[in-house]
Amino acid sequence: MRAILVSAAVLLSITSCEKDKLPKTVDQRAYAVETIGKITTVKNLPADTIIGTNSIGQPVGAGRYSFFSLETGQWISNADSNSTKWDLAFAGTVVRINNATSGPGAGGAFVFNGTFESLSSISADSVFRLDNHPVAYAIPRGSGRAWYTYDGPTNLLTPIPGRTLVIRTATGKFAKVEMLNYYRGGQTPSATAADSVKTRDQRFLHFRYTYQGNGTTQF
């Protein structure tokens, strides 16, 4: 699986390097990681995608997290969940950090109100919150609270612009993360799209981040 993903990423970087020669065949719906300068963009990371419906007809996933390392830019195997190899774990709207009830690491997080670019350094008096699974998380769940809003009538989930997640990684380094989209292909379906499309394509996360490996809080 990982080999496929890495080769997908390699293919992507080839197409972007040699786009003059090769026809553009980038699959916008496939998982991909791309780094340009200090910013790494992750596309279509499945986060406990919908597999069916429960007894009262609500769409549900398998309850499986996707673990991600901000340091290496890689999707980490679930076998490594009890290690410091990962920094963020995703399932639907839940984002967990590697610390406390979620993992053995030194992680922490808080939500910064402001654009990704405007966050050049983490102020010294910042308080990093910890997960208290399943009651509360460092990055709170709920519409309008941390990084997304959910609209009942249209059944659509949208990341809030101008919200940046400030992350302390499993090994105590710092990163800033901006959630970009929640749907496969990176396009939120139209409000008029069928519910089957909204269900099928949701929980494919798109986000970008900058990781500071030298331990400082400057980006």
Partner: protein, 693 residues
């Protein structure tokens, strides 16, 4: 004759602007007047049909067909029948497709706050339906048949899968000695269109509507008269449809019954040449009853009932001197409602209102007219409201006049905002509580450990107060020749303490609890212009345009402070610019209409109306709290309606037409617009010789 009907002569008489009969050329606020002849020639059946062709009015499609005037929501326009308010609103919307226009002599539209005369709800303006008075003996009958097929484009008559509508009207006027009587009966059998949101499927929704209206008039000597108007309206909708939910097909049966009754006795008394008295009574009731049942589970029925009653007694005195007129009135009103969506159907809610109003109209020679007025409404349920208004007319030249007005409007909180107790278990599971119950219910849930989180807005819950608006309207009217009239108006409405629904708490299971708060401040402003041209007696051209800009003042402040964000095309966030802001949702920035009519002396006519409305926002699709250029829009559209008339003899006339020739449809955002409809009307009129002019 054609001229007087198409072009609004300054001699036309209207009542809504001043509560008295006044010539259009002598009033201080612009009134849009629609005569019965135009309503008939346009082939309009329902109030919605004729209103959608008027400048500055936009239709909305939530909770029935509502109207948006000067950019304000449907709940802020008062709709009157002979000066008395119609009731039976759903979520603030009075469904204008409910109201038959047969039996309506003319429609008067006043824009801008008019609460100084009419009280609550007259924030954006007033639409007054004036019924026909009993006239000389007359018998008139008409039959209309129309057919549409939303999928194919053209409907096939009498075919099962076409959308058909049949309307029959019978009018009769007669006298019994001095008692004059007029009956109007209107029947509509129609296949309506689906109102299911987020569904492409149009389901025939058979509608049966019956409207009966009777006016009785009796002169009591030379100085007094009595008029009684009675109107009954009955709707019945019935439909069977299938919903596909995650692959499961659920067959459903739905029906809706609405009943409406209006009784208006008016006693008129002329005390002297100078003093007139009007005593008006009003009794109206509305009931709605909706039933939904799943066919596979007969015990799964869901029933929703709503009943509302309003009783009113009012005394108005008009005192007229040479250069001024004083109008004053006093009234008392009782309003009651019962609903399954309140705590219990049996628990009647009541609000009593007492009110006084006065108006002083002063003439300054031939050039100036000034009207100063105010009204005070006292409600038993919440604080009172004072609404003043001052308006002026200045005739610079016979061909040029200016009017200006500044006034206040208010809307009292309605029963829904006070008492709603509604939980939707289907769509995500949320609850809405009126303010009277919200604190009590949520505190009780909290004690049971059912509340996960109380939002900051919970602490702000308090007794609701009325919404207020201040409106300024300035207009110029230019009539270079009797055949040409050009009018330009600018308007601005500042709305305070707008009631909005806000989340106040979250339950442990994650479902949201909402209630109502006086929070928002908003503005609407714009320009409206209309142009009328009568060409060679046979042609008339009528063009209208409105530019509308709106905004929420808090949102506007946050944007100015750089606290709102938007996304670049690559998905990254940036600070929002002022030019990204769209303002209030569900409003079109531009709207226009062009109407061309040809009519000859023999009353043969062709009447064409082209309507345009620019795109409007329907969903916030980029996650910020405001509506901006990146959000989802409904497409702007053009609609074309054509009718033609041909008198076949002295008594029989034929009308044929095509509504929505271009077959514009938007099943999601304007589901109440039917597809292309071809119709034919046959009308027979027998009137006594004397009534012919």
């Amino acid at each position: 004759m054609a001229q007087a009907d198409t072009l609004l002569s300054l001699e036309e008489v209207v009542v809504t602007a001043t509560r008295q009969e006044r010539r259009l050329g002598n009033i201080t606020i612009p009134v849009n007047l629609i005569q019965r002849r135009i309503i008939q020639q346009a082939g309009s059946l329902r109030l919605k049909d004729i209103l959608q062709e008027q400048p500055g009015i936009q239709l909305t499609s939530n909770f029935g067909t509502g109207i948006q005037m000067q950019g304000l929501n449907p709940e802020h326009t008062l709709i009157l029948l002979d000066g008395q308010p119609l009731i039976g609103r759903t979520s603030g919307v009075l469904d204008v497709s409910r109201i038959a226009v047969a039996g309506i002599k003319r429609i008067e539209i006043v824009k801008g706050p008019s609460s100084s005369l009419y009280g609550s709800e007259a924030m954006a303006g007033v639409i007054n339906l004036i019924t026909e008075n009993p006239s000389l003996p007359l018998l008139e009958a008409s039959l209309r048949y129309g057919v549409a097929d939303p999928d194919q484009g053209w409907g096939v008559p009498f075919k099962n899968n076409s959308f058909q509508q049949t309307e029959a009207t019978v009018d009769a006027s007669y006298s019994i000695r001095k008692l004059k009587v007029k009956h109007n009966n209107n029947l509509l059998f129609a296949d309506g269109v689906s109102f299911r949101p987020f569904s492409q499927v149009r389901v025939p929704r058979p509608i049966h509507r019956i409207t009966h209206q009777t006016s009785i008039q009796q002169n009591l000597g030379n100085k007094a008269g009595l008029k009684i108007l009675g109107r009954i309206n009955q709707d019945r909708f019935q439909q069977e449809f299938s919903v596909s939910n995650n692959g499961m097909i659920i067959d459903s049966y739905g029906r809706e019954l609405n009943n409406e009754l209006n009784i208006q006795p008016t006693l008129f008394f002329r005390l002297s040449e100078k003093i007139r008295l009007h005593t008006r009574g009003y009794l109206t009731s509305y009931s709605g009853d909706q039933l939904l049942r799943f066919v596979q589970k007969p015990d799964s029925s869901y029933r929703d009932r709503f009943e509302q009653r309003l009783f009113r007694i009012e005394e108005q005195i008009d005192f007229k001197k040479e250069n001024y007129t004083i109008t004053a009135g006093v009234g008392y009103q009782v309003e009651q409602a019962n609903s399954t969506r309140y705590d219990a159907l049996a628990n009647q809610k009541q609000n009593n209102v007492s009110y006084v109003f006065a108006q002083w109209e002063l003439k300054g020679g031939d050039k100036w007219i000034s009207i100063l007025g105010a009204r005070y409404d006292h409600h038993t349920l919440f604080s009172g409201a004072v609404t003043p208004k001052w308006s002026l007319r200045y005739k610079a030249k016979p061909s040029l006049s200016f009017t200006a007005s500044v006034g206040q409007g208010f809307k009292a909180p309605d029963f829904r905002q006070l008492y709603l107790n509604f939980t939707n278990t289907v769509a995500g599971g949320y609850s809405v509580f009126g303010t009277q119950d919200a604190i009590r219910v949520i505190n009780a849930l909290n004690r049971l450990g059912q509340i996960a989180e109380l939002k900051p807005d919970f602490t702000k819950l308090t007794t609701l107060s009325p919404e207020h608006a201040t409106g300024i309207n300035v207009s110029a009217q230019y009539t270079p020749t009797p055949a040409i009239t050009w009018q330009v108006s600018i308007f601005r409405n500042d709305i305070q303490s707008l009631i909005d629904v806000r989340q106040v708490a979250t339950r442990v299971d994650g479902s949201q609890l909402f209630s109502y708060l006086n929070v928002n401040r908003a503005f609407t402003q714009g320009v409206e212009t209309s142009f009328q041209w009568q060409l060679q007696k046979k042609w008339s051209i009528n063009a209208g345009y409105q530019l509308l800009l709106t905004g929420d003042k808090e949102e506007w402040e946050r944007i100015k402070q750089g606290k709102e964000y938007i996304r670049e095309s690559n998905g990254s966030s940036r600070v929002m610019n002022k030019k990204d802001y769209i303002g209030l949702p569900n409003r079109s920035k531009q709207q226009a209409q062009l109407k061309i009519k040809y009519e000859d002396k023999e009353s043969r006519y062709v009447y064409m109306r082209l309507l345009y409305r620019s795109r409007w926002t329907v969903a916030n699709s980029n996650g910020n709290g405001v509506h901006d250029v990146q959000d989802e829009y409904a497409k702007g559209f053009m609609q074309l309606h054509i009718t033609g008339g041909l008198p076949l003899s002295n008594t029989i006339a034929l009308q044929a037409g095509i509504d929505n020739v271009l077959n514009y449809q938007d099943v999601f955002y304007l589901p109440n617009v039917a597809g292309r409809t071809v119709f034919v009307t046959l009308r027979a009129t027998l009137e006594s010789k004397q009534s012919k002019k």
